[in-house]
């Protein structure tokens, strides 16, 4: 499986090994990695921690589709990605995307494509815990009050 949702901390070196293991032996001259980490502020507000929640079955399905699209669109050998769920402290890795390609251009382009599509399409929600107020789901205009 090349797209995963995990509730345990992401170890970048483990995922780099998995990426290289999946790529045809020694065909990749460039590896580009994007690592998204929890930062201490959001839209000017101090952030204490984050909570990620995933609709796992659909997240994996859509994540695999994005990786397949990346392989079809760019001259790359392999692409893998993993996203965390649960409560994350500042500095923890929330998402890791790795792309291996013969040349750096395609690797950079594909990595950017994967993280952008992942953020737009994969059903994962983020709740920010603030120092100055109650936690809120990110990207939601207002709470539904049926």
């Amino acid at each position: 499986m090349t797209f995963q949702i995990t509730s345990v901390p992401i170890d970048p070196s483990t995922w780099r090994d998995a990426l290289v293991q999946d790529a045809p032996a020694l065909a990749a001259g460039g590896i580009v990695v994007f690592e998204g980490v929890v930062r201490d502020h959001s839209a000017g507000r101090p952030v204490l921690s984050l909570e990620y929640e995933a609709y796992t079955a659909l997240a994996v399905r859509e994540g695999e589709r994005i990786l397949a699209e990346a392989r079809a669109r760019f001259a790359i050998e392999e692409a893998v990605a993993v996203h965390r769920t649960g409560h994350l402290a500042l500095g923890e890795t929330a998402v890791w995307v790795g792309v291996a390609a013969a040349h750096r251009g395609a690797a950079f382009d594909a990595c950017r494509f994967v993280i952008d599509e992942l953020k737009a399409r994969v059903p994962i929600w983020k709740r920010e815990h603030y120092a100055d107020g109650p936690a809120e789901w990110v990207g939601v205009p207002g709470p539904p009050a049926p």
């Binding site: 998204g36 990620y52 929640e53 995933a54 609709y55 079955a57 659909l58 997240a59 399905r61 859509e62 996203h83 929330a94 998402v95 993280i115 992942l118 953020k119 737009a120 399409r121 994969v122 059903p123 994962i124 929600w125 983020k126 709740r127 789901w137 990110v138 990207g139 939601v140 205009p141 709470p143 539904p144 009050a145 049926p146």
Partner: protein, 93 residues
């Protein structure tokens, strides 16, 4: 000989639909999942029946729907035993 005409005005049979809730929809419903008995033929009708339609204007523009673990159209036909998830704006990464 004339064939009997099936009248479209007949009420549809009630179906059992399983709803799984995430993020703000779980907060709004106060539970992770529920099974509802409904005659709503589409996710859009179900959304309105649950009372979300009155609170959330034009949901088609910012909320997505999944039926049986894949994205579906708001006017998809629901079948007995389907699982429906309403997907609020996501923020992975």
């Amino acid at each position: 000989m004339l064939q009997p005409v099936r009248r479209s005005a007949e009420p549809p049979d009630p179906m059992q639909i399983r709803l799984v809730h995430y993020a703000l929809f779980r907060d709004a419903r106060g539970r992770d999942a529920e099974t509802v008995t409904t005659t709503a033929a589409t996710p859009r009708a179900l959304f309105d029946e649950l009372g979300f339609g009155a609170a959330l204007a034009s949901p088609e523009s910012w909320i997505r729907v999944a039926v049986n673990d894949d994205f579906a159209a708001w006017d998809a036909r629901l079948a007995d035993g389907d699982t429906v998830v309403f997907i609020a704006p996501t923020a992975g990464g």
